[in-house]
């Protein structure tokens, strides 16, 4: 089976490297982008199988904007998006993709910090065909 590619969009380079080590160890290929704009471009060019997306990068809601743009582009519309967030504590929002799926453009919210095991489990759960 072909190697699955995960695109990580997050401006925290250290976290990206930690995620890379975890995922490469599990046989995934990891590509990354530090800005939303770069992430969008990579998503279109490199056709990742799944996208890990941070909510707060340059702007508070940059991740959301990226997610909406990914969903509205034909090429990337069906790629699963897992959103990494520390936002709930900051805003008091309580996201629930199952309940709010009409309004939320992502498949899952992962509250930071997420343990490596949980991260891998979540990625396997949302990949189109399991590895």
């Amino acid at each position: 089976m072909a190697e699955k590619t995960i695109l990580v969009i997050d401006d925290d380079i250290d976290l990206v490297e930690i995620i890379r080590v975890t995922l490469e160890n599990q046989g995934f290929k990891v590509i990354d982008a530090q800005t939303g704009e770069r992430g969008l471009a990579m998503a279109k060019e490199q056709n990742p199988d799944l996208i890990l997306l941070d909510v707060m990068m340059g702007k508070v809601d940059e991740g959301f904007q990226v997610a909406y743009e990914l969903r509205s582009d034909e090429v990337t519309a069906d790629v699963p998006i897992l959103m990494l967030t520390a936002v709930a504590d900051q805003t008091g929002f309580d996201f629930d993709p199952a309940r709010d799926k009409d309004f939320l453009p992502v498949n899952e919210f992962l509250e930071k910090p997420i343990s490596p095991r949980d991260l891998v489990d979540m990625i396997r759960k949302h990949l189109p065909t399991s590895v």
């Binding site: 925290d12 930690i18 008091g92 910090p113 343990s115 490596p116």
Partner: protein, 457 residues
């Protein structure tokens, strides 16, 4: 219209009266009204009892007429008060003035009918001036004072120079009609009236200045408090990211290293993860403590409180089992529906139960009870643990305070669990109490309203 509640933190314009709202002025007017009923009835009673009953030589017809005019005027005032709502400060203030002028004229007529300068009731003028000094600003107080002086001086000299009829009081002698007595009485009358106006104006001026000072200082304190909260929120936000990343990093190292790792290295990493988790918890708790304004109508949901307690307690059963602690849950029957903020209610239950487990004795028991008390629901969380010294019971709800016994038991507590519980309970409109004995255990009792609503501040 401003409501009474807001007066307390509203600056008073030094140029206006203390009673800045139309409603509070109306309340004063209604109070005068009551006093006036008493005065009118008193005049009528004196005229009837002394003049008609005891046949005393007083001006019965004049007194009765004045009493009736007072009654009619007062009826008109109270009808207006019932008919029209108080909306305009200026109108109410003008009405107070009209009434005060009418009262002074009525008092002058009454005095004229009952001995004039001989009648000690002349000091009722003083009471009017004192009331005016409480209601009006500086110049207006003296207008009332001078009106009282002019009316009464005119009355007295009018009688002396035979321009007005003089009605002797039955007890007064001819001396009362002599010029020295009149001048002495009038002199002291002028002095008392002007002194009252002066002192009243001075006291009220100071009073307003002090109140304004307090309001200003309160505003400064509130600003500082807000700045402090904003600072906490900012710090929390800045610390959260690096701590999260560090925790993920160490967890990843542990995960990847696995059993191949040197045991001592693994131990060091495990200790690091445990302390990083504590840091994450502090950061999360601080975020909970510093976030505000969550209690909005759209955040309220209907929650089955029994359900919520069971689910939340179940999440803690693993932790309890590790210390051989048994958790008993006694629910209310029938179930209680609360209109509340779910995650706040969950945090309240979770933090209390978590404390009851962590500060319990090995193999101890935790009892969780839900009691329906009608308009409210009561949650009782009881443990058999270390207990809290009496002098520390008031402090455990302060941020970062950890009791001596708690610090000896565990070094992983954040000192924020109970402050969060208290904050959430208060935001939801509830109360919290603690009852504890050292070495025997603690009981926390929370009451929550069936429907939480935004409190007025």
């Amino acid at each position: 219209m401003r409501c009474d509640l807001q007066i307390h933190n509203e600056r008073i314009d030094p140029g206006t009266s203390q009673f800045v709202s139309a409603a509070s002025l109306r309340a004063r007017l209604d109070w005068f009204n009551k006093l006036r009923w008493g005065a009118a009835v008193g005049v009528l009673a004196v005229a009837l009892i002394a003049g008609v009953g005891l046949k005393a030589p007083i001006e019965v017809r004049g007194l009765l007429l004045t009493g009736i005019v007072l009654l009619l005027l007062n009826t008109a005032y109270s009808l207006r008060s019932r008919r029209f709502k108080a909306v305009d400060v200026a109108i109410e203030l003008r009405l107070v003035k009209v009434q005060m002028v009418c009262d002074l004229v009525a008092l002058t007529v009454l005095l004229n009918l009952s001995g004039g300068v001989e009648n000690p009731l002349l000091f009722l003028y003083v009471i009017h001036v004192i009331i005016a000094s409480l209601l009006f600003k500086g110049r207006e107080i003296f207008q009332i004072a001078w009106l009282a002086i002019i009316l009464f001086t005119a009355e007295v000299f009018g009688e002396y120079f035979d321009l007005l009829p003089h009605h002797h009081l039955p007890t007064a002698g001819e001396w009362a009609h002599e010029l020295p007595f009149i001048l002495m009485t009038l002199g002291s009358f002028w002095l008392v009236i002007l002194f009252c106006a002066y002192v009243g104006a001075l006291i009220m001026k100071h009073n307003r200045a002090i109140k304004n000072e307090l309001v200003d200082r309160q505003a400064v304190l509130m600003d500082e408090d807000r700045a402090k909260t904003d600072f906490f929120r900012f710090v929390t936000h800045e610390i959260k990211s690096p701590v999260n990343t560090a925790q993920s990093g160490v967890e990843t190292a542990l995960e990847l290293g696995g059993e191949a790792m040197e045991p001592s290295v693994r131990d060091v990493l495990n200790r690091s993860v445990s302390r990083l988790r504590q840091a994450t918890k502090i950061v999360q708790d601080l975020a909970d403590l510093t976030r505000g304004g969550v209690l909005k109508e759209e955040n309220l949901t209907q929650v089955d409180f029994n359900d919520l307690v069971v689910t939340t307690v179940d999440e803690q059963r693993d932790l309890a089992a590790r210390s051989g602690i048994e958790i008993n849950v006694l629910l209310s029957d029938p179930p209680i529906l609360l209109t509340t903020i779910r995650n706040m209610a969950e945090t309240i239950v979770a933090n209390l139960v978590n404390n009851a487990i962590r500060y319990n004795r090995e193999g101890g028991r935790v009892s969780v009870r839900v009691v329906d008390t009608g308009k409210r629901v009561r949650l009782v969380v009881e443990d058999e643990g270390i207990g809290i010294e009496e002098n520390e019971q008031g402090l455990i709800f302060d941020e970062f305070y950890r009791s001596t016994a708690a610090r000896e038991t565990s070094n992983l507590g954040t000192g924020l669990g109970l402050p969060i519980v208290r904050k959430f309970v208060e935001e939801l409109g509830g109360t919290i109490e603690v009852d504890s004995r050292v070495g025997r255990g603690s009981t926390f009792t929370v009451t929550l309203p069936r429907k939480s609503r935004k409190r007025r501040r």
